[in-house]
Amino acid sequence: MSVAERLLIGRLKDRDEDAFGEIVRLYGDKVFNLVYRMLGSRAEADDIAQEVFITVFKTIDTFRGEAKFSTWLLRIAANQSKNRLKYLARRATDPEGLEGGGALDVAAAPHSMPLSGQVDGPDVLAEAAELDSLLQRGIAELDEEQRLLVILRDVEEMSYDEIGEVTGLPEGTIKSRLHRARMALKEWLDRHTR
């Protein structure tokens, strides 16, 4: 952990509101993206990502600095996403689990806000939105553990060590589960792009 990060965490432990704002600005996109990819719904992601930061504000005293702050934060995000998925699965009345608040709103992906500041033409945007939607539906087909691993490794581009800190899984397990998830996603894309 860098000195600047340690100071920032120290200020957050003193409940410095500016430090909290800085944390949200630094990690908001990452947390939101993780939660959104896990849940597949922007409305759900908005609620849960907010809860993640509220939890951080409440429980920052339990952060001992043994792990990186970002992995500690993403562990909270992953756990809250999994809990939400369980809740939505219990609440779901239709077999697809796509009704109500947990709706998978990937069809609305063209209106999403990409992080890149680059402005592309309509064709490129439509194609990107279609791919985004397709991949999101493919991710939703995976079980929650596989989903998390694919997101952490291939969407967030984290190292196996960092993924181990977030999930608590040994590297060998991560690799084998990730491989199965990637293969399932490849098969799904093959079926839906032919």
């Binding site: 509101e17 909290f20 996109d29 990502a49 806000m113 990409p114 991949l135 969407v155 990637r182 894309l189």
Partner: protein
């Protein structure tokens, strides 16, 4: 090496973490197997596409969180009023009060017409 064994190595191959011996065996198999080459290509495409799935937090994300904390803490945190008064150091408040009292005292002394009249 058969197709299944080849496919088992795709992740390590794409990640660049494959052992040299496995890499050589896989490349040898790929050179002779068009089916596995196609499969590897679509595997690589699937994994590569995931890196483009970036979605930023919506506008107003931070103020909404601050508002939630304000509500749940019953105004203890993220209250503007609290922030305004909470941030003025008490030393400055005390000093300002003393100065104000001094000014008032001096004004009272000089403000009395003719000053304090001696008793006849």
């Amino acid at each position: 090496m058969d197709h299944e064994q080849a496919a088992e190595l795709f992740s390590d191959f794409v990640d660049g973490s494959i052992a040299p011996r496995d890499k050589a065996a896989l490349e040898q198999h790929l050179s002779a197997c068009i089916q596995c080459r196609t499969n590897l290509e679509s595997f690589r495409r699937a994994v590569g596409s995931l890196g483009k799935l970036k979605h930023g937090a919506p506008p107003g994300f931070l103020p909404e969180i601050q508002q939630q904390i304000y509500k749940r803490s019953r105004g203890r945190f993220f209250s503007r009023r609290w922030k305004l008064f909470g941030r003025i150091p008490f030393e400055w408040v005390s000093l300002a009060t003393i100065i104000a009292m001094l000014i008032y005292y001096i004004a009272m002394l000089h403000g009395t017409p003719g000053g304090v009249k001696p008793a006849p």
